[in-house]
Structures are given as structure tokens and as C-alpha cells.
Symmetry: C2
Subunit: 559 residues, 2 copies
Amino acid sequence: MVSMTATNGGRSRVSFQTDPARYRHWRLAIDPPVATLAMDVQEDGGLRDGYELKLNSYDLGVDIELYDAVQRLRFEHSEVRAVVITSAKEKVFCAGANIRMLATSSHPWKVNFCKFTNETRNGIEDATACSGQTYVAALNGTASGGGYELALACEHIMLIDDRSSVVSLPELALLGVLPGTGGLTRVVDKRHVRRDLADYFSTRSEGVGGGKAVAWRLVDEAVPRTKWDETVAERAAQFAARSSRPLGQAGIRLGPLDKVRADDSVSYRYVRARLDHAAGVAEITVRGPDEEPAVDAVAIRSQGARFWPLAMTRELDDLILDLRTNELELGTWVLRTRGDPYRVLGYDQLLLAQFNDWLVGEIIGYQKRTLKRLDVTSRSLIALIEPGSCFVGSLFELALAADRSYMLAGVIGDGDPAVIGVSEMNLGPLPKGNGLTRLGTRFLGDPDALAAVDKQAGELLHAEDAERLGVVTFAPDDIDWDEEVRVAIEERSSFSPDALTGLEANYRFAGPETMETRIFGRLSAWQNWIFTRPNASGPDGALLAYGTGQRARFDRNRV
Amino acid sequence: MVSMTATNGGRSRVSFQTDPARYRHWRLAIDPPVATLAMDVQEDGGLRDGYELKLNSYDLGVDIELYDAVQRLRFEHSEVRAVVITSAKEKVFCAGANIRMLATSSHPWKVNFCKFTNETRNGIEDATACSGQTYVAALNGTASGGGYELALACEHIMLIDDRSSVVSLPELALLGVLPGTGGLTRVVDKRHVRRDLADYFSTRSEGVGGGKAVAWRLVDEAVPRTKWDETVAERAAQFAARSSRPLGQAGIRLGPLDKVRADDSVSYRYVRARLDHAAGVAEITVRGPDEEPAVDAVAIRSQGARFWPLAMTRELDDLILDLRTNELELGTWVLRTRGDPYRVLGYDQLLLAQFNDWLVGEIIGYQKRTLKRLDVTSRSLIALIEPGSCFVGSLFELALAADRSYMLAGVIGDGDPAVIGVSEMNLGPLPKGNGLTRLGTRFLGDPDALAAVDKQAGELLHAEDAERLGVVTFAPDDIDWDEEVRVAIEERSSFSPDALTGLEANYRFAGPETMETRIFGRLSAWQNWIFTRPNASGPDGALLAYGTGQRARFDRNRV
């Protein structure tokens, strides 16, 4: 069960931690090599009051469980090679995001909800592409809106052919908003539905089923009810047979995080955040490993979820989700690291040496997705590289993900100066959503500068060299440091949060575009705009009018 | 002078027609092979009341003159091979879009203004790339905001190095909005400014000048005042020398359009629109040529602006701008053609045969840009392909640009059935902003379907074949036609205009992304969102607070 935790201040916070024993909305059944995730949303199980989750409609709580299941399938179930997503209810697969929930939500809640569901669906695609776990959507009833979008995230879509079950994107016609979880993008860019047919489909609330849905590429196959179970099983077995996932390996258990949450701090073993509500700043520190790296994949497996790269990534992932959802006023995140840079490099070397081990592959993939989550976070990110920090390799990605970085040139007292270091981890395994590395995006159109940085891989660099190579933004000396950093942070808090969000979204996604950048860059921006418009969210808008029997009243002016 | 024309109904309309003799804000001087466009905005020359255009700040009227100048330089001045954009004022190049104008404008006005300025700047880049007229920005004073964005559209940016002149994007810091005319995109994607430096630059209202502006790639060179004039002249001459524009050809004159504008209709020689305000529909009909095509380039030149492809394109361009700006409630545009399809094919063949003639190249380029204008128009586009129509080749692009097309299968009375036809004009010369043809975008990921269509080039197709090949959306027969078309149009008018705008923007730009699609797809969507947010446009927002001495009050929640 996903819970809202009451806090001291009386506000309630969303927790993203759960496990299958606590699921209220999904049933996970494993029959190797196939897992079946059956959606069975509990109507009165909404995360907040005021709406009923009928017809397998979902809210953030339902999606938090889905995210948890997708993660656990990767790490805990090495034996699973195909995942069937279906419904445990009769005649309906999923009715999409709950309308009443959307209609009664604040603008930030709607946007944050859409972002998380997008990330979860991208994670499903990533599991198919990178984890040898192919997702198959078995639509045993109608899939509407977000329900169809969930299917679109699967590699293969099967629709029951019973003359009544359809797929549909009714948002535009019924709610005056867009299918916001990547649906538009996936329809034309992933499934290559012809754009005029896509236009028709997306304005027709009744949806499309059977042979026409196949002919238009909306689904991959329409299967008669009499052959449904056997065909689904057959397809899952076929996809499982193609998996590159190794056999005979044991998964590792993802135990509960050791997390302490207070009003002004969040603490885990390796990650902590100080929340300064007066300044609107979260100061996040990621600690490097406490001990030397394990010697091989067997030793990594025996450490399991305690293995530093995995433990730290889980904590960071949870922190990002917590702060994004629960701390809207903390508009600037200051990123620091503490620890031994050589030891971090050692862990990077270990991971790269064991790259072909499935568990190591999963850990690196999880680092990749968590860094991507940071990239699409609508907060200003400022990295502070100080003496005692360990911004090297995989942790240096945090500084590269930041909108700006400041590196202290000089020492404090008798200590050693700050260093940064590029490792092979910065040169490929952790790409951004645009398909490039963060370094590649940084030096877009300047291959010489990129090559000069590549050459430094494995070396630790002081501030002067880092600045000269362009891998940090500024390198103030110890005299200027405090003032320059203070101004950068305070200034950020003085700007319009909306304009910062738009600025960051545009600058972070320079370079090539992918389905991912399109979802977070373009589709999300349009949806955000539509969400704020009276035609959707006003008192006469479509979201509130839905289900009342009243028609929405639109301002007909085109913008 | 750009004028607001009073109409019968008392509303005033914007006219996009002007010529150099009427310019109030620009001085065009031609000294072959170089033209100089000097900005000299008349403070009291605003298109509407309520603001003063100080410091070469601009409004829509200033940009309409710029658009006119860029167009005339292409067609009327074959001798011009480089264009210097500079300021006729001391110490200031251009302060960008007028803030007070933005603050007092409606949301649709702001968005439409940004779109037109974006198109004009893209047109400047297109002239450099395709017309052998390289634009050089000679910033003889500070270029802020939209002023710097105008410079970014030029191929080469020169900044006077006088210790006070800078380039800047102060919108975020001062106004709580984004640089909306492609600035963000051009900074990182065109000029490859490093993204953390771009972040710093875009939050620093003071701007950056001199050597730092060069080092950061914000400008190409900083030139001391003493060497300014000679260096600008030298650079212009260098770019002119590289031009592929032929020598010794005479330009053609673009005379005034023969336009009759009424409340419920717009008529030109080849294009007319019936405006149905009750239904919210503009019915647009484009007529094919009256006579057989000229025999060669000499004959084309002698027809000049009367040559059908050019005359029709100018009319369509003006109509799109007129309706977009003046008729916000007409949310659906129904596109029809009338004429002899063989004759249209004949003109296409003539254009393609004379492709290397500079004037023919300019005409095809203008068709390309006008179709792109249609692509980014926030109106639903429905093409009706009926008997008597001539949707072939270049005119078939109108149907391919539409969100949907309906083609009548069968005849009306004794007449001939409707036909469509693909020509070589559909296979390359008229690409969309994404760099693909409209057919290529339509059959994204289905190369077999595209190849099957390519093979039909030069043939006229009836409805059944057109539907089978997928080049029209639906082909109802004469029994269903009226009802099906009526429903499609009426239904469109019943949907949320905002959601339609978002849907169309996403579906029209499937496939690869370019700087253009990023500007119109992503940046514009973010800017639209920011414009509607109280932090920008509310009573305490930054746009209204600017210049009052009061600070904007922001809702600090991140979305």
C-alpha cells in the first residue's frame, strides 16, 4: 500500500516506498520465464480523498506500485524474461488516469503526476530494450487514455477481439486535454500510425478495435476470446525465448530503505538532504563508498542491495521523487559529494569490468535512469565541488547534470584541493534521454573540446584544469568562493520559477531528439499549457464538466 | 507604414502588406552586392496605442516591415548577395520586443506575435542558406532579448567592442518569461554555446560583451569602434563574394496584392476565403492557373509577380497571416482547390525544369516557406478533395499539410470524378520544418508505402486508389459525403481549441527534429505555458511589474 504520511506540520507527504506484499492495485504472479502483472485497482484505494478509482482508473498511488513492480522484476527476478501486463477485471483493461483526481488536483500535482507516469512507462521500454524483460500488453478489455498509453509502452500490444473492446485516446474529446503520458508521441513516432489516422483516432472518444486497430498499427494483433489465453501465453513464451537474460542466476532482494524523514531533512545511509524552506533550497549530499570495492560479480551479489552503487542510487532515486512531489517550494537543489575519489573510481572500474554480468548491467541501467530523472526534474541544479568531495566518474555525472557547477580553486586551511575526475562511466554507459552522454551534450558541436576531456579519463583534475577543459562552469578561488556561490543560489531563488523551468528544460535537452526528449520536452510543455488554460481547468472547463452532464464552455479563440 | 484597418464592425485588423516607401522603422539601402537594413524604430509608431517603441524595441508592425524587406530583397534585388542588419540609432542595436506591448497584450496576441517573429527569423536563415543572401548582424550597440535573437538568426554576428555594448537575454531575469524567438534553441543548438554558460548568460540581465562574448561563442567577433565601419564592409564583401547568386539578372517587382477584405470574406485573384463566424470556419479555395504555363525562364520573368505560382503563393501567404492574426475564432480552415489538374502539373514541370534559374528557385523556396507557415498554424486544417479540384503536385501539398483529407469517391451529376496527383514537387523541393517531405512524414517508418506512392508520380489517381495508397484519409462515396464532411467539421468546432492546438502541434511534427521544429514545437509550448502563468501575466507578475519599480511577487512552487 502506498501511503500518505502525516507530518509534524500536519501536511501529508507521499511515500514512494512499497513492496508486493503491500500492493493494493496490482497482482504480480511469476511463472518463469513469464511474469504477469494484473491491474486490479481498488476503488476506494485512492492516494487522496475525493475520488473513486473505478474501471481500473489510476492515480499516483497505483503508478507507484507499478514502478515498484517494474524495478523488482529487474533486480529480484533474474528468471523473468517476459512480462505480461493485463487486467484482473472483466471487460476493462484500464480507463486511464482518474478524471476526478485530475479535476481536483492542483496544477503542480497534475504535472508531477504526468512526469512520474512518463518515467515509469519509459522504464518499461528500457526493461524491454536493456534488461531482457519484454513487456507484452494483453488488453483483455478496453484500454482508454492512460490505459492505452500504458499499452503503448509495451513492446507488443494484443487486443481481445470481442466486438466491444477497443483502444482509445478520448482525452481531447472528453476532457479538453492531451493524452499526456507520451501517447501522442508514441502513436506516430514509435508505432508509426499515419498522422491523419492518428488525428482521427485521437478525436474519436469511442476508440478503435478489431481488425481496424491492427490495420492502423494501433495494436499488433486482435485475438478472438476463444484463443485469448493460449495466444497470450504463446506470445509471452516467444518473447521470453528471445531474451538475452542469463539463466540460473539468483536475483537479489531490494529491502526497505533506511530512511529518516523530517520536516527539514531527509537522511539515508549514503544520501542526505537539508531542506531550507526559508531559502527555498535543498542541500543534497551524496557520500562515496565506506569500503573498498568488492573483487568480482560474486562478491557484488553477496552484498546485494548493500552494494554501494546500488544502495546510493536507490536512495538518490527515492530522494528525487520525495522532493519533487512533497517539496515544491524548494526550487534550487545544491548537489555536493563527500568521500574518497579514488574509491569511487575503483567502484566504476569494478562495474565496467563486470559490465556483462546481468546484475551489474541492471545497476548501471538504474544509475542511468536515476540520472535521467534528475535531468527532467524541474528544479535548478547547482553542483558545488569542494575539497573533500568525490565528483568523479559516475558521481561526476551529478555535476554534469547540473545547470551550473562551481569548483573551488585553492584549499581550505591545510586540506587538499578539490578534484574532479572523468572515467569511462562518463563516456557511454550513462546516456541522457537525447542518446548522448552528458559530456557529449555539453560539447555539442565542439568535438575537439570533447576529445581533450576524453583524454583525461582516469586522471584527477584540479580546478584550473577543469575550468580550462570546460567541465566545470566556474572555478572561483577561496576568497571569492563564498560570495559567488551565495549569489548564484540566492539569485536563482529570485527568478520566476516557471521561467526557470522552461529555460532548464530547453538547455538540458540540446542536441538530438528522441521519443524521450519529445515526451518531456514538447508534449509535456503543451500539456502543461493546456492544463493551465480555463478551457481545461477553469470552472466551465472540460475537466470539471466531465461527468456532470454539463458541457464544457470553451473560449473559442485559437491561440 | 503598417496599418490597422478599421472594419465595418468597428474592430481593427492588422494588414501585413507594406513596401519600402511606407516603412517607418527600417531604412533599406542598397549598394550592390550589399544591402544594409538599418533599424530605426519610430517611438510613436506602434501598431496599437499604449506603448512607445523606445530604444529600437519592436512590435508586430516593426516585424511586418522586416518580413517585407527580407522578401523584397530576395525577389526584387537579384544583385544583393549579402545583407547587413544594423541600427541607425547610437549606442543601441535593438532592445527586443517592447515590454509594455507584451504586458498589455492578450495571450493569443503574444503567441501569434512570437510565431510571426520566429517565422521571419527562420526566413532570414533560409535566405542565407538558399538564396545566396548572407545576413550579417552588425551590432553597433547593445542587442538585448529579441534584439540578440535577431542577431542569432544572422549567419555572422559582429559586436562593437566599446566596453559598454553587450549581447544579452534578460527576459528571464527581468520579465519572468523566456527568450521566445528561438533564442534558447539557437544559443545551444546553432551556436553551440556550452549549456552551463548559456544558463549563466540567460540569467544575467547585464549581458556579455567583448572578448568573453567571442570566447563563449555568443558572437563571432568583437570589433573596436575605430575599425568598425571598415570591418563590417569587409565582412559583408567577403560573404557576398561567396554567394552563388547569379550576376546580371534583373529582379522582379512585387506589386501590391489585388485584395478585397470584408468581414465575411477575403478575395484575391487566385485565393479566396469565406469566413463563417457562426460556425467558426474559414473555407479557403485556391484556384489553379488560368492559362498554360510559360515556356521558359525568360517568359516567367516577363510575367513577374503575375506568374501563377508566385501570385498564388503571395496571396496564400497573406491570407494565412491575415486569418491567423485577425480571425482567432475561426478554428477550422477547410482547404479546397479549383482548376485543371493537368495545368497545375504543367506548371510544376516548368518550375522543376527551370529549377536552377534563381527566380524559379526563389518561387519554389517561397512555396516551401508558405507551406511551412501553414504547418505551424494553430488551426485545424481539413482538405476537401472534390470533383473539379486540382490537388496535384505543389497544390497537393495543401492536402498533405492538412490534419485530415476527405476525397469524394464517385461523381456529382454527369461530371468527372475527383483526382489527386503526386508530382516531383511532392518528393523533395518542398520539405517541412523537420527536413522531410510531407509524404515522407506521412509514411514515417513505412518505406514500402512511400515507395508505392512515389511510383505514381505524374499519374492522376481516383479516390479508391488514393485511399488504398494512403495519401488521403477517407474517401466517402457521394451518399455519405455530405454527412461525413459535415460531422468532421462540426465536431472539430466542438472540441477544446487549446487541446486541438497541442494535438496538431505534436502530430504535425512527427519524425526528426530540427532547430525549426524545436522552436515551434518545444520552445513555443514552454513560452505559451509561461505566458499564461500568473508569475508572468498575473497582476503581480513580472511583465506588469517591469518598469514600475515594484518587484514581481512569485508563487514559488515549482511545477
